[in-house]
Symmetry: C2
Subunit: 383 residues, 2 copies
């Protein structure tokens, strides 16, 4: 038989059949009326999803491309930006900034700990001259499995009345964890197609407010592909400055319809529940959570590798024998943790299979757990 494989990495996530079907269709003219309608629908509904009235741009690129777009459109060489340094993706904003001659200032937290409002307050209060031009925060840092308190961080940023832009990388949170751009006062939100939107990778997006737009005027970094000015002009006629990824945009429309059918509040609640069920079941198996505070990600669970279990062997047996693909540790956490993605098109019932497969693989590796433990935990927590 054809084996169903569970792709439980921290994204890309499993693409629902409805979305695959929506992309399985003839292409259309990307300068014709059908595409214009499609793009308009997607941009308007993406804005609703982010709770924003702001401009929203779509790029054919990975999510990292959208991060680069914010660097080259808002800043100039020498500009200081503050970024999180508590994981791979927070550090990436600093790496891109440095590549463009900016001055990245890391907020140095331990990997596995979230940046707190008081951390940000100290930094901004110590910068009365407004030397800092932006604060970059990934909402979920998938390399460690934390979730930063964006609403509270945005509030501090607003209350400090600091002139910098507050920029949120929502690649691993959008359409999974509540995010209200305008109400929370976030200047820029970045995201991608392959996580909460349940699409294949290849499409990124950026939503920018009036303050960010004003900042654009001051940037002198060279740009063409990422140029928001050209994007803005093309979007006036519902087109892109270059050939758009039409198939993904057909998939995006289906994704937005699916999210609206379920109701975004229900989508958020489902992700919260999946995270809590996964954490409880893993603890019941005696696994140690890497993030013990309430700043745990609602989209992935990171776990210490148990003693005497090596990631290459565990990963291989999960994949080959149990058709379960998990994420390993990245950077300084390589060989120390492993990660279970529970993002997108997934429900509580899927967890029996995912955690049952993991449990079986651990038992195969000599890990001491009574068979059925994770299922028992799930059943007891089920309501």
């Amino acid at each position: 038989m054809e084996q169903k494989e569970y792709l439980q990495i921290p994204g890309p996530t499993n693409v629902p059949e409805r979305i695959l079907k929506a992309m399985h269709r003839p292409l259309v003219n990307h300068r014709g009326p059908e595409f214009r309608e499609l793009l308009k629908f997607c941009v308007e509904h993406l804005k609703q999803l982010l709770c924003t009235e702001n401009e929203l741009f779509i790029f054919p690129s990975s999510g990292s491309g959208a991060i680069e777009s914010t660097i080259v459109n808002f800043f100039s060489a020498g500009d200081a930006i503050v970024h999180c340094a508590n994981g791979v993706f927070g550090e990436r904003a600093g790496t891109i900034a440095k590549a463009y001659g900016l001055n990245p200032l890391p907020i140095s937290k331990k990997w596995g700990e979230a940046v707190q409002p008081e951390d940000l307050k100290v930094i901004l209060d110590n910068d009365p001259e407004g030397y800092i031009k932006a604060v970059y925060v990934p909402h979920c840092e998938t390399s460690t499995g934390i979730q930063q308190p964006i609403e509270a961080l945005a509030r501090v940023h607003r209350e400090c009345k600091h002139p910098s832009l507050f920029i949120v990388d929502a690649v691993s949170s959008m359409a999974m964890i509540p995010l209200e751009q305008d109400k929370w006062g976030i200047d820029v939100v970045i995201s991608g197609s392959q996580k909460g939107l349940m699409l294949p990778p290849g499409l990124s997006l950026v939503s920018i407010n009036a303050k960010a737009r004003a900042q654009e005027e001051k940037s002198n970094l060279p740009k063409w592909y990422w140029n928001y000015g050209a994007m803005r002009k093309a979007l006036e006629e519902w087109s892109l400055p270059f050939t758009p990824p039409t198939s993904l945009i057909f998939g995006l429309r289906e994704s937005l319809i699916m999210l609206e059918e379920e109701g975004i509040e229900n989508v958020y609640a489902r992700h919260e529940k999946l995270a809590n069920l996964t954490r409880s079941a893993c603890e019941s198996m005696g696994l140690e959570l890497f993030v013990k505070s309430d700043d745990y990600s609602r989209t992935i669970t990171s776990l210490h590798l148990p003693e005497n279990i090596q990631w290459p062997e565990l990963s291989e047996i999960c994949r080959k024998k149990y058709h379960l693909v998990l994420g390993g540790g990245l950077g300084q956490l390589k060989g120390k943790i492993f990660r279970i993605g529970h993002m997108g098109n997934l429900d509580e019932q899927d967890l029996y299979s995912i955690l049952g497969r993991l449990e079986a693989a651990l038992i195969d590796q000599g890990y001491p757990v009574k068979p059925g433990t994770s299922a028992a935990s799930l059943i007891q927590k089920y309501d």
Copy 2:
């Protein structure tokens, strides 16, 4: 019934069902063994297609992104590059170069005329100091429907022993028109997914030789997303520096298999025949070819709009009544020409339908042609 629509714009082209099916599948871990095998297969077979032993990079982006990647990796502000100025896409290389502070030097030919070897010889002979750092030529310039004599241009470039890079934009020619990178001595080839490779848009590629690689060392332009150094390092382990467009890469594998099954020489011959049949049939209908010289594109046919026929009306009737989508004129040719794409997954039989629909639409618009003229031309030329 469900209407079949003929998407005969100059790309994106119709995606064959086999490729749609190959993309209609669960995603895989982009850091796992299955994806590494897939990427390796695609890179190796793409190199065979370009007849090159060079490095080949894949980006999640439109084709224009790959052009930008060559600008930021090979050059520095102030560097002079020569580019074609005989159409929208030739001019785009100049626009991107200018955005990065380069000094773009246009070869000013009339739109509809190809750059000739003697044009290039004069330019290079007049630059004994090697002030010019690169020559950019689109193989097919789809905005006008010409095809530049790349083999002859490359020969001149080689014989002049000029230190500049010879860079070919093969977005609208790869896998449709012969192109032998190494034998012809082309330093850099750029292409995209949505034309000869018959895929949806969203993936671009660049193949660079040792001379180009040496030039990379001299570039001081800022870059991160397009950085070949990071791409090269990631490809050593058959991964990308950011999330790759996995679905498109599954489609790409199927495309490469299909091209090999048909045999690339047969694919080239098919495109040549499609172009010739289309030109003859259009002329038999009394339409005037925009490109009368032998430098006509083998992938699209551009035609003068007949007297008293307006593009918006012709386009609308083709699309709404006959389900045929054609390309209009771009830039200075807007309202003057229209364009028929005959790229990718298309055979001689399809031309009966495409040209029959066009003929019907023209007759509806009062154009004087005897019904059946294009079909008669196709039948007479059929062998």
